[in-house]
Symmetry: C2
Amino acid sequence: MPIEFNPIGRIHSPFSGLQGMPIQPTGALGVRGTVELYGEYREGLKDLEGFSHIILLYHFHLSRGFSLIVVPFLDSVERGVFATRAPKRPNPIGLSIVRLERIEAAVLHICNVDILDGTPLLDIKPYVPDFDAQEAVRAGWLEKAGRSVSNRKSDDRFK
Amino acid sequence: MPIEFNPIGRIHSPFSGLQGMPIQPTGALGVRGTVELYGEYREGLKDLEGFSHIILLYHFHLSRGFSLIVVPFLDSVERGVFATRAPKRPNPIGLSIVRLERIEAAVLHICNVDILDGTPLLDIKPYVPDFDAQEAVRAGWLEKAGRSVSNRKSDDRFK
């Protein structure tokens, strides 16, 4: 039985198409955008402004179908989709950690945005280093590739 | 129009009820569990074993309805739900970063599990410090409370 979720807002960014979009917030340092939370959810933003970083969960709404094996943007080798952050996943949920600059009414001004303009928002969570920052980590094939993210851009391979 | 997701597996843990369950993986250090990925998705696990930590996204399947204002487990003060990790969210999606110990066929052996037994799995992503570990972070009301997580347990307030 499918689980149904409803968008709680939209994410706005300078990226209207996949071509040339940064990959991951680390490739989008300084890129500004907004999260427009639908008014009915506004009360849930209480206390969020104390957090410098937030986790956005969103729907990869342009992704059609999925592939279990993908060639990710950061590589030229086929990888299992769960070992990548590629959008063509069985459940196309995206995750980005962005900097929260300020909140005005139900609009969140954010920085380091690697998300397509118009993306449906599913959830906002506070980023908490005690929960979310891990030490002594092995990052598999992304150990080296992850660091080259700042000069790599998206293309339309996952459309 | 709702977005439909289908579980891709189940998470197994020692926690059969909410009462007494740890809050966050940092409160569940050493607690072992498994992720049973449905066989049809197994190919997507290729290369995942190179990662010491993975991000699990799952459905808070016991959560009924949502509250925009909650009193989180770690506090006695009302907070906006998006400034907490409480399960009673508009879209009840849970996020935990756990240690991946090994993979046997379609079963992932994991450690630091703060998840209820039988929880439907939505996605697995590799944890990549270059993407996911942030520095110079302000963690709002969780700045201090986050550190007390190891001796705080869940109760049934979010059922």
